[in-house]
Symmetry: C2
Subunit: 251 residues, 2 copies
């Protein structure tokens, strides 16, 4: 029997991304230059950081005037008040504030540290924000790549989030286009004859995580190809990965 | 530049695993039969379920007498009292009990639904428990495979856990041998010159998740090879993935 298998291929050679860059074209060209031109069935995992840069979602801290609330919180957290101001602007509510850590719910509904506001891999004295609508970003990349190559690649926009109880961060999906982010086993029978219950698998998060070990934080590999996996196609957005607050025991 | 890449290869053809089976030998043989014999640098992701079966951690429900506490909780949760009894035996404390869901902290320290007690893919009227010490199980598999083949493969024992806030389950690591479960960027500089802070990546969880899409729940692929990834070797156990309660904002 042919074993099920897939490949995770980092895309190297992308230039430093700037506001207004045609990220879809740059990805297509870089993939082709390294001999792994995109093909039908590919799924791309794209780091939030390059998407935000191409969409102008990088803010010079000198342009940020902290509100009194941000100043007060910044003192308590021992953080830069301009960063706290940006975090509050990106947030719908503060979930926890303790031990120098600020966990918020973003306007998208993601619960994460610092609302996705981040200073790594951007110019010193700047901070990057999450894309305004990462699902829209994913759709735009998918369409651009289709227009350039004829290939209908699925796209995941990934970011690196922490989680309660477990140490370490993992990459998760914050935007998707062209794949079903959740695989649903509800009602299916396992080989032993049990009907599987409550079995929704967050495939988009697992594949965002699968990409991370080749992306890293230091090696300028912001895009990864998942190749050969027969994933389920679909038009659901990343909202499928948000737990309904009424079903969440940890709000 | 050669792109960084790795492969995820499911191992098919394993028999139904029973108490006392030599799982290491069965894995070595099944990998060889399908033309992907284990080689140096491989990392194996092994489903908790087959490890538990080989270690006799499957309990016939007819042998379980629920305590009064289990009977009371079972009524409230609308669950089988014998299952609740098993869950309580596997647990150090109950974290949440609501909406028919029982979240506990296991004796290992994992916080998960039902303490890892599970009825899928075992005989009807039985339940499987997590391995007593999944790190020991991982080490034993690594040693057995080394003894049989001379290959020093790293091993992750995986299980499928939910998480707060995000819909869907993902595979995570509950036992490791031979790889550093966490990659630590503390103090490293990114290409833009920022010193990265608080950047611990839970690589073992990401790779457990990477394996899940080829393992599935229905296709009898309980073991997956991660091949070609230059992961960091190490002798830390999965305890490195447990967040210290004093650093956890969500206890």
């Amino acid at each position: 029997m042919t074993p099920p298998r897939y490949e995770v291929i980092g895309i190297t050679g992308l230039p430093e991304i700037r506001n207004g860059d045609d990220l879809g074209r740059l990805i297509v060209e870089a993939a082709a230059s390294q001999g792994t031109a995109l093909r039908e069935g590919d799924l791309l995992v794209v780091s939030q950081k390059v998407v935000s840069k191409s969409e102008g979602r990088v803010v010079p801290l000198a342009d940020v005037t902290p509100s009194p609330a941000a100043l007060a919180m910044a003192r308590e957290l021992a953080k830069d008040a301009r960063l706290v101001e940006l975090i509050l602007r990106e947030s719908r509510r503060v979930v926890r504030m303790d031990k120098g850590i600020l966990i918020v719910e973003t306007h998208h509904g993601w619960i994460c540290a610092n609302g996705g506001v981040d200073q790594s891999n951007v110019d010193l004295d700047s901070a990057s924000l999450l894309p305004e609508d990462p699902d829209r970003s994913a759709r735009a990349l998918r369409e651009r790549i289709h227009g350039l190559t004829g290939v209908d690649a699925a796209v995941i926009i990934s970011d690196t989030f922490g989680r309660p109880w477990r140490e370490g961060l993992t990459n998760v999906a914050i935007g998707v286009a062209g794949l079903a982010p959740i695989r649903n086993y509800l009602g299916a029978q396992d080989p032993a004859g049990h009907t599987l219950q409550a079995t929704l698998l967050a495939v988009a998060d697992e594949l965002a995580g699968a990409a991370e070990p080749v992306m890293g934080k230091l090696n300028r590999v912001p895009v990864t190809i998942i190749r050969g996996l027969p994933f389920e196609r679909g038009e659901d957005t990343s909202k499928a990965l948000l737990r309904d607050p009424s079903r969440d025991l940890f709000r």
